[in-house]
């Protein structure tokens, strides 16, 4: 396994930088933009060293990277194909971003069926990672709302995939990390809204028991998510804010969103994020909400995409980048596992901003390799510190495994091949559907030695 603490330098083959959102690892690759649905496999006919379709590069680790290979950048393939205002079915090329879909759909009274914490991901990337959002307990994953898509293989064959047509490839491609072929277009089921606003309520909690109580009480609320302080111990252990909301049913202006203007202007120095600054941030966030309960009618932008306001906020973590860690632990061990992992993180002193805690529902994912399953999920990030971050990560991954959980490939840069193969025992079945030309640094990493 390559030494995770000393990522290889970008090689001379690099044509333009392509980073994942964690900015770790950094690999050189050749960028091949796909502008038209016919560009693949036409543009890759002479390639022998592997290729990977990529979108906005918002996954954190190396599922969107291919060392010394070819990245097929799909973002210029962003045309809309058809929209049915009766059914809300939108067909679009796979490089369209969720932000572009919202710009189109919101003024027409429609919204994404599932949205992650950033709108700067492509439709194809959302399928390939079978992303989830704050409504997982009611809506399931993004893939559940994909009626059909076209998959193009490197041999030039094209197939329409749906739950009833080429259903094996449908299932392998949803959550298939871009390895089964290039998705050229997809049909997404949008849902109607009458307002941009969210009826929001924020509730402070202390400890996992209170979090679970709030989760049970919020069963009929569409969106729930919690921020949890992973730096505090003792009386403040696992304190947090439970955030819930529904689309407002009161008719309101459906204007498009303004464009973001703030860009994080520079790479912060390595010492900017330390135990003290992060602990101050976490305390400030907790007390920003003065009362135990706060209600508001809030625009969907700050509710779903609080970080999108500042473009390139990942620079805050400096040159070394950040490491994400997201597990799901099934209900059987969800509580004890979460408490144990939160203790381990607090003990390590490796500060984390914005740890996000949520209960996944039992709506099944259509994807063969989808990450979510019923239980508790926790996502946290920490700045990369040589000697410390990776050993902690390995301990947390091993604990996740012990509690019967698994990690999210889209947020991973460090799990080992044995860990991955234990988390996803179906991986060899999935591998039968992989396109022989396509691979990723993630896939190379987690399938070696077997």
């Amino acid at each position: 396994m390559p030494d995770p603490i000393a990522p290889e330098e970008a090689t001379s083959q690099v044509q333009a930088p392509f980073e994942s959102w964690g900015r770790y690892p950094t690999y050189g690759a050749k960028l091949l933009p796909l502008h038209w649905q016919s560009d693949f496999p036409a543009l890759t006919a002479d390639l022998h060293n592997g290729a990977l379709p990529v979108g906005m590069g918002r996954s954190y680790g190396d599922v969107c990277l291919l060392k010394d290979g070819n990245l097929l950048v799909t973002t210029a393939m962003n045309r809309l194909i058809d929209f049915d205002a009766e059914t809300g079915l939108l067909t679009a090329e796979a490089g369209v971003t969720l932000a572009q879909i919202l710009d189109f759909a919101v003024p027409r009274g429609f919204f994404l069926p599932v949205t992650p914490g950033t709108k700067y991901v492509t439709l194809g990337g959302a399928i390939a990672n079978d992303i989830h959002g704050k409504n997982h307990h009611s809506a399931g994953t993004f893939g559940r709302h994909i009626a059909q898509f076209e998959l193009v293989r490197s041999d030039g064959s094209r197939m329409i995939c749906s739950p009833t047509e080429n259903s094996e490839f449908y299932s392998a491609t949803i959550g298939g990390l871009g390895l089964t072929g290039v998705i050229t277009w997809a049909t997404l089921r949008l849902k109607p809204i009458v307002s941009r606003k969210i009826d929001y309520e924020g509730i402070q909690f202390h400890g996992i028991d209170e979090f679970l109580d709030l989760t049970n009480q919020a069963h009929d609320i569409e969106y729930t998510v919690s921020w949890v302080d992973v730096t505090s111990t003792g009386r403040n252990f696992a304190r947090g804010v439970f955030m819930q909301g529904d689309h407002s049913t009161k008719k309101d202006d459906l204007k498009p969103s303004p464009k973001p203007k703030l860009v994080f202007p520079f790479e912060a120095p390595g010492f900017a994020l330390n135990a003290l600054t992060v602990s101050l941030f976490n305390t400030a966030f907790f007390h920003k909400q003065i009362h135990k309960r706060a209600v508001a009618l809030q625009d969907y932008e700050p509710f779903f995409y609080p970080l999108d306001k500042v473009l390139r906020w990942n620079r805050m973590y400096g040159k070394r980048g950040l490491l994400q860690f997201q597990y799901v632990i099934p209900w059987e061990h969800a509580k004890e596992g979460t408490v144990a992992i939160l203790h381990e993180v607090a003990k390590s002193g490796l500060a984390s901003f914005l740890a996000v805690l949520k209960a996944f529902g039992d709506v099944p994912s259509p994807g063969m390799m989808s990450f979510p399953k019923p239980g508790i999920t926790l996502a946290l990030d920490f700045p990369i510190k040589p000697d410390k971050s990776f050993p902690l990560f390995q301990r947390l991954a091993d604990m996740t495994l012990e509690f019967g959980g698994r990690l999210y490939p889209a947020k991973d840069a460090a799990m080992t091949a044995p860990q991955f193969q234990a988390f996803y025992p179906q991986w060899q079945h999935f591998a039968q559907y992989r396109d022989p030309l396509l691979t990723s640094s993630f896939w190379e990493r987690v399938t070696q030695n077997s």
């Binding site: 333009a16 933009p33 038209w36 016919s38 210029a76 809309l80 058809d82 929209f83 189109f104």
Partner: protein, 255 residues
């Protein structure tokens, strides 16, 4: 603002030549959002159909297309007559087709050079002759034409492309001088390097201008009836300096 729908005015009728070029497509998306009627011409039927479906979905009032190789100047009068007939008129003609060409090959082979001049200069002159006369007859209309900053001064790295665009810019200046008094607007658009399919393989293309912001500037310049648009605007002072470097110095530079 240029991107708000103009619900009160009837949809504008816009003819787009070279509609599958990156800049043209981005511009058309703004017009589609405004509800314009569009007639699109391009060479590749499959790409043209993809662009037409996108613009229709985004809200264009009317979209019609024709597949044509614009190098074939003999077809121009029939093609243009068909287009204005389909649109039942024409408020704006937008010429966006062109090729970068292979400079090195053009230095060796005159036929390659002649082909670049034909596509980027001769064919637009043919189109604009018909279109200008159509507009003059109606004493209305805007002719918006994509030239290039590369036409402002010949440089060794791309002087075939540059000279084709220099010829086009000079033609547009003369045409404007003739038709302005007839109520017809001519806009010369001079983009700097833009991130599109045409430039995807050029080094440092990630630093080029975003095609969406270039398109917004073009729509706004048409609405304001501007004469010449440098886009992004920084290219206006840059090209002023480049035009004014004395030739005895300029000839030694590597540009």
């Amino acid at each position: 603002m240029s991107t708000t729908p103009q619900a009160t005015t009837p949809p504008r009728k816009i003819l787009v030549l070279g509609a599958t070029s990156g800049i043209a497509e981005a511009t058309c998306r703004i017009w589609a959002f405004q509800g314009a009627s569009l007639f699109l011409v391009a060479r590749n039927a499959e790409k043209l159909a993809a662009v037409a479906a996108d613009l229709k979905t985004r809200g264009a009032s009317y979209v019609d297309t024709a597949v044509a190789d614009l190098d074939d100047t003999e077809q121009h009068p029939a093609l243009l007559a068909h287009a204005v007939n389909s649109l039942t008129g024409m408020d704006i003609a937008y010429l966006a087709h062109g090729v970068l060409g292979d400079q090195a090959e053009a230095e060796r082979d005159f036929n390659t050079a002649a082909q670049i001049l034909h596509t980027n200069f001769v064919a637009p002159v043919s189109l604009l002759t018909w279109l200008a006369n159509f507009c003059v007859q109606r004493r209305a209309g805007t002719l918006a034409v994509i030239s290039s900053v590369a036409g402002d001064r010949g440089r060794k790295s791309n002087y075939l492309y540059g000279s084709s665009k220099a010829g086009l810019s000079a033609f547009l200046g003369g045409l404007r001088n003739r038709v302005d008094r007839e109520g017809v607007t001519v806009l010369t658009i001079k983009p700097g390097p833009v991130k599109t399919a045409m430039t995807a393989n050029m080094p440092k293309s990630e630093k080029f201008a975003d095609v969406e912001s270039v398109a917004e500037s073009i729509v706004s310049a048409i609405d304001k009836r501007k004469d010449i648009l440098y886009v992004p605007f920084q290219w206006q002072p840059i090209m002023f300096i480049i035009r004014n470097i004395p030739e005895r110095i300029f000839k030694k530079l590597n540009l």
